[in-house]
Amino acid sequence: MGVEIIIKIAAIGLLTAIIGQILKQTGREEISTIATLAGLILVIIMVLNLIGELFTTFNNLFKF
């Protein structure tokens, strides 16, 4: 929990961009789209987990 999640998301972004480019150059358009979509969904799940954690923390903190 910390700076590593930011680096992780940036790395996934760069990686999916590279993979998408390579797949596009080799002529596999549909697989490139799916790979890009998979990276996006992975990042969305990570961010949603963080937001869920935020909501639980807020609930515990301001419950009384």
């Binding site: 929990m1 910390g2 700076v3 999640i5 930011i6 680096i7 998301i9 940036a10 996934i12 972004g13 760069l14 999916t16 961009a17 990276g39 996006l40 990042v43 969305i44 990570m46 961010v47 963080l50 937001i51 954690e53 935020l54 923390t57 807020f58 903190l61 301001f62 009384f64």
Partner: protein, 130 residues
């Protein structure tokens, strides 16, 4: 002092990561910004409970009813949460949606603050000579 260095470092790293990723994939830059904001928020939220504990001891010393204090704490929590959501909406380019969240937060806070208003009115009515 340690915590502020960590907050500044995480903020700068988030900025740099957003700058690097934005030309390649602009949709990921938004997620990096959101994650960075959340990480900074998590770093600070632990200290908020310390502040509330201190406030609670002060309130219990003054003898004011603890119901009012609970409402106050909840209003502060709503304020922080709304602030974060509006920031995310504005970052992603939906500033009008952010304004609507802001309006919703204001109305919810107003509804939650109504018991305080009636309490004040009751005190004033009690002070008036009948």
């Amino acid at each position: 002092m340690d915590i502020i260095i960590r907050i500044v470092a995480i903020g700068l790293i988030t900025c740099l990561a957003t700058l690097i990723v934005k030309p390649v994939r602009s949709d990921f830059a938004i997620f990096i910004a959101i994650a960075g904001g959340l990480v900074i928020l998590f770093l600070v939220l632990g200290y908020v409970s310390d502040i509330f504990d201190t406030f609670r001891s002060i309130i219990s010393a003054t003898g004011v009813s603890s119901d009012l204090y609970k409402i106050l704490i909840k209003i502060i929590g709503i304020g922080y949460l709304i602030e974060f959501a509006v920031g995310v909406c504005t970052d992603t380019g939906n500033s009008s949606l952010g304004d609507k969240i802001l309006l919703g937060g204001k109305i919810v806070i107003m509804v939650m603050a109504l018991p305080i208003v009636t309490n004040i009115l009751q005190i004033i009515m009690g002070l008036l000579p009948s």
